[in-house]
Symmetry: D2
Subunit: 298 residues, 4 copies
């Protein structure tokens, strides 16, 4: 399949089940809601070393938030519910409870609840007050700038992590330009985050390493400087590859994000140095979710 | 002491020895250097729950960086050298190695070296190459977008953490406006970071809690909603308090940051609802560094 | 009427008929579409001295733009169609034609067409090429970075200019905080712009001046420093007033924007130093559109 | 001359005398100083159609501004002193006087003074008050949010407009990446602005047109799509050209800006698709300032 001169590989991305949650941060204005959200979702690119994958989903209009203030929705993904709950609580406690004028609300419904303000309330040293409105429980925790309002719990849901595609380009600036266009488009898609810095990862990895202590290492088949030294997957005219990784609530959400992202890359086209779109998988044996590029773009 | 109608309390901030390091992230442009720096220093507000306190010191001109590209300097503070090294390596590996077009360099000299690219190099799966220029060792690690260049080590130095001051105001918007002005001024001071979200923390804590499992709890004496319920330190007309915490390489660096920050707050003055400047301490018995507000502003 | 402690004055804003147009700027990424849009809509706060009132309406997803790239929609308002056309053409020629990777499209349908690329095409020095797709005419103009694609015309419509409301607060930081919250909310409303810097104007004017050459002068009745020297409209506890001016396609669009903006201000409430919401009018004799605050907030 | 694989043409940029001024805008915080500065310097890319060329020079630390608040310095260039004064006054009146919490100060000394607050004061309708501090005259003009403080005059100096260089690249994303790197570097150089959107212009022009009414038209010799249809200056592998135009206080300031900008482009190098650096001139007969690329980079 070729779109605007860009080859879409007959391959697929392979993704895994994860647990996810969403929270809504509000503040006196959008700037401060965003500051808290950025702090809370920082250092969260990869679940193995960061404990979770997290990102900003989108900004929320005042009429979309529980307290009528500007807000930001954040999503966190982890391998299991226990790790997810721990990450949510620690990050909320360090980065939202502390952030001027903020409040914190559930962002998703589910029968499985995980604590949001439920344990953070103890920071109030007994001065905290519970409040139930329309069947939802909130905690009002006295802090120096006034009060930190936090809903008691938010929902935990099954989700999908590790959707991805690779952008092959003739040079680094072209690969980056294509990924920037893709991220501009994908950040408008609901229910997904792209957890790497700015949404893009340039250090794709393969399973295994020549060093026994390591489980993963550079994906040498896609490293342009190694074309002559390894079994390369890269065509002669490809000098830079970048990857976009997507975590989403459902397979369909990741389908949507991949579609608009790949389309944005292809809009730049072969004329702008984009040569191929590929994807990363483990042969299809490990992850139950398969995203076939040509089906998505059909 | 009164400056522009604002009372400067006869008290002091109390700070502790920490270990610190600095690294320089460069990228194809300032935007992407900043994206990597924000990811790397996210979720790093407080050393206890985040493992370190980290922040962006400033942007660097191309002629200030080792590879002549736009850059950002980041600083990380931890209680000891071992924790510092671990945080630096994990955060660099997750947030800089992964970030498109980035390179990573030492940002401070010291006899005590900690690994920067030294261990990250193993990601290269044997394809990495060492390079020594002017006596400094670098690693060239093949990645998908080209090559990740990382200096082998950076310096670790003794530093000071926990400088602080409190802004007391008649309302939350006034406290926030004052802190924004202070942070605008303080981020221009070299050798310091303000690790909380946007530089400001609104949930100051006291040592101890009525809940045995907790070591700290809300600083009720400075919570405006608790004026009638606890031994309050707040005057009747104070309805919001925010704090700025500063980590710095030396006591003098924190002195400078506190001075310009407090001055910026006082420029707004009593007319704009700023009532007092105070500071947090533990009676002077725990932290060897004391920052007397009135001396700093003399 | 009182909302969250804030008095809503029994008064109205008075607005006037204007002509308006909308254009869509796309670019390689959102950053550069926004850069062109900011340049094009700069220095456009007031129609009298700037020739038009202009602003950014919102960012557009790639699937919302004619060429599938990230985009920004801008709106321009003027007193008449001739002035509008001139401003559109000059600003597009100086700020979009010149801006790297940009393209320019119609943003609104109307039987009345005004030139977008129609005259700019002559810059192509005879090398430009017309292209008709689905009945719409485009010009492809050769430029140094490739080609500037511009739709021949966009629509001109009747519109409404000068909707407004005033925020009265106890201090400047509180008035500003309230206006920031209002603008965060109002920028999400379609079909409107707030043409002043950051959406806010602090130098409201009255008709007439003691200097004969001037038609307008400071609205002394709303100047807090003049309370003792003029017939003031301000209560004793009001020390700062800011205004938000809105231009919109229809009266209903301005109604919507005023509603969400005033609501955002009232969410801060009397507790945060917001005392009253008022509005500016000329006695109702000059402008045919009246926006009664209490009706809007009912 | 070849730097990192990039050919530096044996040519020169040709520039003209202009008049320039600088003003300092301060505000409650950096965000609002920047908002006013962006509005004031918007729609100011080219002196012919915009009346002036204007831009933001840099942000200022509170200790660098006359009132100790965060600030931004803006520069305006025009062909003569009269036009410069008119643009300064209109833009300051529309975009700074109106902007919440702002104040306005002289940014450059000179025996030739032009009005800053001198005429804007009449907006005060007789309520304005003069104030002389250290021999400098200021006006305090009552406005709704408090008071607009404006220094009476600022300096007007001789300056140089039209320094420039061209970046030739293999594709549009590569040209843009190179220009972004150049602008990141150049915006750190004092005494210069790059007046086009984001600092870059992609629609370079030649003198004259086949249409008699026009004085300038697309620089067809540098348009990649016209290689086969005109006497092209472009090599076969060049598919995109962008230009950076610089206005500066002196020839040396422009020298400095060109040097760091061209260096930043060359740092990307031929490997990233940058092929040549050139410059625009009129044969050296019209503009008295010549910037020889190879001398600057020697």
């Amino acid at each position: 399949m070729i779109i605007n001169g860009v080859t879409i590989d007959a391959t697929f991305a392979e993704a895994f089940p994860m647990k996810a949650t969403r929270a809504i941060i509000t503040a006196q204005n959008e700037k401060w809601a965003m500051i808290a959200a950025q702090a809370m979702t920082g250092f969260a690119t990869s679940v193995i070393a960061c404990g979770c994958e997290a990102g900003i989903e989108r900004t929320l209009r005042p009429n979309e938030t529980p307290d009528g203030r500007p807000g930001v929705s954040v999503m966190i993904f982890a391998m299991g519910g226990k790790g997810l709950a721990k990450q949510l609580e620690t990050r909320a406690g360090q980065c939202v409870l502390t952030s001027p004028t903020s409040a914190l609300f559930a962002g998703i419904d589910s029968d499985t609840k995980i604590p949001l303000g439920k344990n953070l309330r103890y920071f109030g040293d007994g001065f905290q007050i519970a409040k139930v409105i329309n069947g939802k429980r909130y905690w009002r925790i006295p802090v120096m700038d006034g009060e930190f309002l936090a809903e008691a719990t938010t929902g935990q849901v099954n989700a999908v992590g590790g959707g991805n595609f690779l952008v092959l380009a003739e040079s680094q600036p072209q690969a980056l330009a294509a990924c920037e266009a893709a991220i501009d488009a994908m950040k408008q898609v609901p229910n997904v985050i792209m957890p790497f810095p700015g949404g893009v990862v340039r250090s794709g990895s393969k399973v295994g390493s020549k060093y026994k202590a390591l489980n993963a290492s550079t994906n040498d088949a896609f490293c342009p400087t190694l074309k002559g030294m390894t079994q390369s997957e890269l065509p002669a005219n490809c000098e830079s590859v970048m990857e976009i990784v997507i975590d989403g609530l459902t397979k369909e959400d990741i389908d949507n994000a991949m579609r608009v992202g790949i389309q944005a890359v292809c809009n730049l086209g072969a004329e702008q140095g984009i040569t191929r779109i590929s994807a990363g998988n483990y042969g299809g044996k490990l992850g139950p979710f398969h995203f076939h590029l040509q089906e998505i773009m059909a």
